[in-house]
Amino acid sequence: MSAEFELTRNITIGQYLPTGSIVHRLDPRFKLAAFVVLILAIAICNTYVGNVFAIVMCVWLFQVSKIPIHYGISGIKPAIPFIIVLAILQLLFYGGIANGGAVYFEYGFVKITSESIRLVLVSAMRFVEVIFLSSVLTLSTSTTELTHGMERLLGPLQKVKFPVHAFALIITIAIRFVPTFAMEMEKMMKAQASRGADFGTGEWWRIVQRTKDMFPIIIPLFNVALARAEDLILAMEARCYIPGAARTRFAHYTATGKDYVAVGLSVVISVIMLAIPW
C-alpha cells in the first residue's frame, strides 16, 4: 500500500548513466541532431530489412555508449500486451485498407494480406527501435545538456522572432519542478489517505469511482503549482529578469571532428535504411 505513495521513486526523468563513453562525450547539439535524423528515418522506413537493420544499429549504439541493454528492454516490457492486442486488431481489420499484396485469408470483413502483415510487423519493430533510441539519448545526456543543446539547435529560429531562450527556460522550469510537485502530490495523497480516502484501490471497471478519487489530488495540485508559479514570477521580476534580453552563457560547446562524424554517420545509416528495397 505504501508503494502507492512513493511517487518520487518512480520518476526516471533526468535519469543519467555516466559511463563516460564516446556517446556521452559528444557535443549535445550534434547528438540531438543525429538522433532527430535517425528517428525521422525510422518513422518513414517501412521495409522488413530496413527495420531489422535499424534494430541492429540500436543494439550497436547501446554497446558503443556502454549502457546495459536491459535499460532499453525494460522500456519495452510494459508495452508487450498492447503490442499484441494492437497487432491482432490490425491483422484482422486492416486487409481492406492496406491494399495490395497477396491475399492469404478472407472471410467476411476479415482479410489478411501480405501488406497488412507487413504493417503489423513493421510497426512493432519501429516501436522497439524508437524506445531503444530514446533510452540511449536520455541515459547518455544530462537534462542540462539536453536543454542547452536544444536551445543552440533552435538558435537559427531567432531570426524569425521565435523566442528560443524563453522556450529553453520553460523546458528547464518544467523539468526542474517535476520532482517538487511529485513531493507535493505525495504529501497531499498521504493527507487525504489519513482522512480515509482511497486511491486506485477500486476495481478497474469502476471508472467513475476511480475518476472521482482523483479530484482531491489533481485540483489542489494545480492550485499549489500556480501558487508556486506566482512566487517564482515575483522572484524573477525582483531580480529584474527580462525575457529576450541579451545575456552571456556559462556553458560553451565547441564541436570537434567526432561530432561531425556522428552526424554524418547518422545520415549515412538513415540513407541506407531508406534505400533498402525489401
Binding site: 511517487l7 518512480n10 520518476i11 526516471t12 526523468i13 528517428i39 518513422a43 510494459p78 508495452a79 498492447f82 494492437l86 486488431l89 490490425q90 481489420f93 486492416y94 485498407i97 510497426s123 519501429r126 516501436f127 524508437v130 530514446s134 536520455t138 523566442p163 524563453a166 522556450f167 527556460l169 520553460i170 523546458i171 528547464t172 522550469i173 518544467a174 523539468i175 526542474r176 517535476v178 517538487t180 510537485f181 511529485a182 502530490m185 478497474w204 471497471w205 471508472i207 476511480r210 475518476t211 482523483m214 479530484f215 489530488i217 489533481i218 485540483i219 495540485l221 494545480f222 492550485n223 503549482a225 500556480l226 508559479a229 517564482l232 514570477i233 515575483l234 521580476e237 525575457p243 529576450g244
Partner: protein, 185 residues
Amino acid sequence: MEKGLTVRRIVIAGVLGAIAILLGVTRLGYIPVPTAAGNATILHIPAVIGGIMEGWGVGMIIGLIFGVSSFLNATVPLFKDPLVAILPRLFIGVTAYFTYVGLKNVNQYVAIGVAGFVGSMTNTLLVLGMAVIRGYMAAGVAATVAITSGLPEAIVSVIVTLAVVAAWKKLGSSGKQKSKISGDF
C-alpha cells in the same frame, strides 16, 4: 493583452508543463478504460488551463511539452510516432483559448467549461484522426475510442478546468490580478 512571452507566461508554461510530465510519469494521469486505446487521459488538462489563463502561445507550448513527454514515455506503439504524439497536442491550448475568448462575454463559467470541453475534444479528435491517417487504427475503431474514452475525458476536463481556473480567477469576488508587479509593466 501584452504581446510576446512575459515572465508570467514563461513561468506558468513551465509549471503547467511540469504537471503534464508528472501526471504522465506517475501514471496518475490515466484512467483505465477498457478500449483499444487502453486509457482515458487527463494529461491534456494543463494545456487547456494554460491556454485559458495565458493565451494560445502558452497553451501551445504546454501542448508541446505534453506531446514530447507522451512520446518519450509511450507504452503504446501508436504514441511512438511523433506525428501522432506531438503534432495534434499543439492545438489543445489554442482551441481552448479561442473558445474561452469567444464565450467569455456571455458568461465566465460557461466559457471556461466549454473551453475545457473543446480543448479535450481537440486532443481526442486530432490524435485519433492522425492515428487513422498514419494507419495505426481503422476508422471504426477510432470512432469507438472517441466515444468510450473521449467523452469521459472531456467531462473530467470540464470539471477540473472549471475548478482550477475559477478558483484562480477568483470569479465572484472582486477578482484582482494576482501578481504583485507584472500588471505594472
